[in-house]
């Protein structure tokens, strides 16, 4: 094997890469900037109380103790950012995408809901204006609204003025009805409720949100203790870890496209004749190209993760050998991908365009931009056929998930297997003789 020639080719490829300093800077800086943006959007280095809150508007046309209490509960919820607005303004803001939804409590809401709780009749309608692009947020709002409404309406029914009036009216209705065992039981129940209400009169004991109100009413009979399951209990989730994994994968594949296009251009220049006239074998040339691209990709990968570690506090919480193995496998895949492109492509512009489109598609379905769990189930399953998904998942595992080497092994095998397929196509299609 002509190792001197292989080394000379590798050295030249690396020199050519560094000769275009602007491209080097862009190739490293752009993924860092994009990863920083996505990382910040997905939570940054810790939980920011304002980050991720769902913006909603509340239009209280009722101004009853019930509607005010529900508004107070919604405002106190850590998932929501509540603005009190007029109906027209609320509609405009939802339309403009500034609010995910707007809840409108109509006039008479408090009294009607309290009566409807006993009678089941004449239910008032709460209007929920929803931004169709933010349906997930709107569903959350719908759930919270139901929770807080049941809580406050039931409190009002058993401790408030509306509740007492509703019980009195219901008892008066019962007096008109025929005497039955059921009527007698219902009357006993309502009179007991009335007595309780008198004893706990919230209109005198306390207003909305008072401790007296809190003792009554229906509420969820359990509490939820949510905790982030990351590498260590003391380590909060770092949103940058995922975004850097995604962008490293994307931009390293872009470097593979550059390597492929460079090879295509080389074939069209006199330098190709010089290479072909030298005592160099086909295999030696392919090996040199693959090694050079792998080394360049490793340089890029290292710089991207160095920035992630130094600036964005991304840590290898899992297996270091796993992380290194994933980096190497990804760079090998990139080199093989570049070689395959060079052998399949006809012209540099067409190849670059087609390969960029394919790469973007691969990284999108690989979860590099948006985590794969937001995809429909069929797409999640389909994405398992994309090596990019394995690369991103593997890097997530080695960083913030803190998984052991065993967890990195399958992604490494998939990446190396994909590299082998690309390399096989490249070797099959590579035209050395003319």
């Amino acid at each position: 094997m002509n190792t001197t020639a292989i080394l000379a080719l590798i050295r030249t490829d690396i020199r050519l890469y560094f000769a275009d300093r602007r491209a080097v800077i862009v190739g490293v800086l752009v993924p860092i900037l994009i990863a920083a943006f996505f990382g910040y959007v997905f939570g940054g280095t810790g939980r920011n109380d304002d980050a991720g809150k769902i913006a909603i508007a509340v239009v209280d046309e009722d101004q009853s103790s019930v509607s005010r209490a529900i508004t107070a509960d919604l405002t106190a919820d850590k998932l929501l950012q509540v603005s009190a607005l007029e109906r027209a303004a609320a509609r405009d803001q939802v339309k403009a995408g500034k609010q995910s939804a707007a809840a409108v409590f109509p006039k008479g809401f408090g009294e009607q809901t309290t009566r409807a709780l006993f009678s089941g009749l004449d239910k008032p309608q709460v209007e929920l204006l929803v931004d169709p692009t933010q349906t997930t947020g709107a569903r959350v709002v719908e759930g919270l609204l139901a929770q807080y409404s049941m809580q406050e309406i039931s409190k009002e029914a058993f401790t408030g003025a509306y509740g007492r009036r509703a019980i009195d009216d219901y008892l008066a209705d019962l007096d008109q009805q025929e005497q039955t065992t059921t009527r007698a039981d219902l009357e006993t129940l309502l009179r007991a409720a009335r007595k309780l209400s008198d004893e706990r009169d919230t209109t005198t004991v306390g207003g909305p949100g008072s401790s007296a109100r809190r003792e009554f009413g229906l509420s969820i009979p359990y509490t939820v203790a949510a905790s982030e399951v990351t590498a260590r209990d003391t380590t909060p989730y770092n949103g940058y870890a995922h975004s850097f994994a995604g962008m490293a994968v994307q931009f390293i594949l872009f470097a593979g496209i550059d390597a492929g296009v460079l090879l295509l251009l080389t074939r069209q220049r006199g330098i190709w004749q010089r290479l072909r006239s030298a005592p160099l074998r086909r295999g030696e040339f392919i090996l040199a190209r693959a090694l050079a691209t792998t080394l360049i990709s490793l340089f890029q990968f290292t710089l991207i993760y160095l920035a992630a570690a130094l600036v964005f506090k991304v840590r290898i919480e899992g297996s270091w050998p796993g992380f290194i193995g994933l980096g190497l496998a990804l760079c090998l895949l990139n080199a093989a991908f570049g070689l395959m492109l060079a052998t399949l492509g006809r012209s540099a512009p067409t190849t670059r365009g087609f390969a960029s489109m394919a790469t973007l598609l691969l990284v999108m379905i690989g979860g590099a931009w948006v985590p794969a769990f937001v995809f429909p189930r069929w797409l999640q399953n389909a994405s398992l056929y994309a090596p990019t998904r394995w690369a991103v998942d593997g890097l997530d595992g080695a960083t913030w998930r803190g998984l052991p080497f065993n967890s990195a092994l399958l992604p490494i095998i998939v990446l190396i297997g994909s590299a082998a397929v690309c390399l096989a196509v490249a070797i099959w299609r590579f035209r050395w003789e003319e």
Binding site: A5, L7, A19, Q273
Partner: protein
């Protein structure tokens, strides 16, 4: 030294080189002349081992290309018609690559590169990027790239194309120096005056066929000049087809 026997190459329906045969002795400088599309570049490509012949044999001191192409390639230096240089790299970095391809070690490469750069008058520009060079300087560096492994046979495919008279003159000086050093040169060109100045013998090729193989002196005597010989043998029809 170089023996070419019944060498043929076909591209689709077109016979680019049609069973040409000739021999070149060691130390000889031979011009391969022909109009555009005559088959000169294809012939050079087959002799240098780049293109595989459809028929015929190329051998160097009895060693056939098909027997050991790499052994033959180590003894041949090619100066392609298209500039075989990386513009983004320095002259020195280009030469390091070309020397490396022939397995030259660091010290040997440094000496050979120094000699080659001195020969073509670029010793003072070694660390400058090729893209800053003039057309003539690039052509000279293109020649230097073929000399690093000290080949016995140098194939030059139109080495003066697109350069000014001063650079052309400098290239002639370089080639004459190589000739003085005993190198064997096979040189393709359109320019008759180049062949008159440099060559001991010329081969005239057209439509893939060898029309003449004679000494410059004899052709000039027979046809009252080399250009007259060329025009008489190849005709006056325009050659607008792609070069092969």
């Amino acid at each position: 030294m170089l023996q070419v026997q019944k060498l043929s190459k076909r591209y689709g329906d077109r016979l680019a080189v049609n069973a040409i045969s000739f021999a070149i002795a060691a130390g000889e400088t031979v011009g391969l002349l022909g109009p555009n599309g005559a088959g000169k570049t294809t012939a050079i490509a087959m002799i240098s081992g780049i293109a595989r012949p459809d028929g015929g044999v190329v051998s160097l001191d009895g060693v056939r290309v098909t027997q050991d192409a790499n052994e033959l390639k180590r003894r041949v230096g090619l100066v392609p018609q298209d500039l075989a240089l990386y513009d983004e790299l320095s002259a020195w970095a280009n030469l390091q690559l070309f020397g490396g391809l022939y397995g030259l070690g660091a010290e040997q490469l440094r000496q050979r590169a120094d000699d080659a750069l001195a020969l073509v008058g670029l010793a003072g520009r070694r660390h400058e990027r090729v893209k800053t060079f003039s057309g003539g300087m690039k052509r000279r560096l293109n020649i230097a790239g073929a000399l690093l492994h000290d080949p016995d046979l140098i194939l030059l495919d139109e080495p003066t194309v697109g350069v000014d008279p001063q650079s052309r003159n400098a290239i002639f000086d370089n080639l004459e120096e190589l000739k003085r050093r005993g190198k064997t040169l096979l040189y393709t060109t359109h320019y008759m005056e180049e062949a008159e100045r440099l060559c001991d013998r010329v081969l005239i090729l057209d439509h893939g066929q060898l029309l003449a193989d004679d000494s410059v002196a004899h052709l000039m005597q027979q046809y009252q000049g080399l250009e007259a010989a060329f025009m008489q043998l190849t005709g006056r029809a325009l050659r607008d087809e792609a070069q092969a």
